[in-house]
Symmetry: C2
DNA sequence: GCTTCGAACTTTAGCTTTGAAGTCTTCACT
DNA sequence: AGTGAAGACTTCAAAGCTAAAGTTCGAAGC
């Protein structure tokens, strides 16, 4: 007997969500279970995390309509942002995406097969390999960007220009703090300067 | 000949980062390559995404010091937040974490082995299975929370209480918009109400 | 009471990623 | 030239996830 129906909400269909629980309810549960919690902090952190999940789901759907995965989109993005001549080595790509070189090797294999990038040995240094964006790859990236910006504009629709400026400024401040100070295992952010 | 040295920055060691590129430089590259871009929007979106990466790396290091993975921490979190008696079925857990039931089965296998949760058939309905937090699991969650709150406080250190309130409020507005409106493949956020 | 449908979990196969080992170049020193 | 160290990628095995069966139990309908 087969099992002809899928009763589950798969990650891609139903977006990964903490289910029908509002942010407020979640924070209330946190306070109930962990009394030392600062609800103001938790609200920000939880919202950031949940926002990001939704964004990734949205991007995933969009790239899927273009026959790509988010993983491939990221590679295209890194290559485009590197500027002309739109080529980088596997190791450099891996660093920029936060992957191991091994994973990059496989990812590139696929993308070469799909015609999004080419892989060629560097002539001047034959240890090196150059991954270069193809015309088709660049076009795909552009299409993905057009979709993404539509979504992003929708997301921020309720914010005035002043709100947006203020939000961008605050987030940048936070980011500077995290990126310039390496947190150790205990969570302390040690400044590097 | 073995290869005795690791010259790569592995995802866990060196945090996944778009490498030594500031947010400002990234936005400039976007504008260079995609002229229709609204830099104000891109700043917010990019900062959100990069912030989240750093947060996840930080959480990952912290849970690692407790001998857990982020994946396991998420399961503990869902169980704790469900409230007493701290038990849920695999399917419900999968939904809350955005995983397939199959992945949940394996994850639970591991966690049962580590004594973080127990798995028992429901007596009243023997199709159902109850995953219940153990005392040790709850204690681990508490320790992880203590570490997490230290990091979170460090992260927000530069923000005044007013800044924090404002940020929490804005993020909540965005979140409400994304969670209550299902984006379709083209990025449009259709309200459900 | 038997049968069929449906729900809830588990199993299996295939894919992506990690971590470690391996290969091939290049560079520096002798 | 000749050797050794180091760098840049690839290969391989194991872990974790998804998608698609498969299994078991409970609830309805005949």
């Amino acid at each position: 007997m087969p099992s002809p129906y899928v009763s589950y909400s798969l990650p891609m269909d139903e977006p990964p969500s903490e289910v029908e629980r509002t942010l407020e309810a979640q924070i209330a549960a946190y306070q109930r279970e962990f009394h030392d919690l600062d609800p103001q902090v938790e609200k920000i952190v939880s919202a950031l995390s949940r926002l990001n999940r939704r964004m990734n789901v949205a991007y995933g759907r969009q790239t899927a309509t273009l026959g790509m995965s988010n993983a491939e989109w990221e590679v295209l993005k890194a290559l485009v942002l590197s500027g002309a001549p739109y080529q980088l080595g596997p190791g450099e790509l891996a660093k920029r995406l936060g992957l191991t070189p091994a994973a990059m090797t496989h990812r590139i294999d696929r993308m070469v097969g799909e015609g999004l990038v080419t892989r060629e040995r560097d002539e001047s240094n034959r240890v090196r390999v150059n991954i270069e964006l193809t015309v088709e790859g660049r076009e795909k990236w552009l299409e993905a960007m057009r979709l993404a910006t539509v979504f992003e504009e929708e997301l921020l629709q309720d914010l005035s220009s002043e709100d947006r400026t203020a939000l961008g400024e605050v987030l940048t401040r936070l980011l500077k703090r995290v990126e310039h100070a390496q947190p150790d295992a205990s969570g302390r952010l040690k400044d590097l300067d």
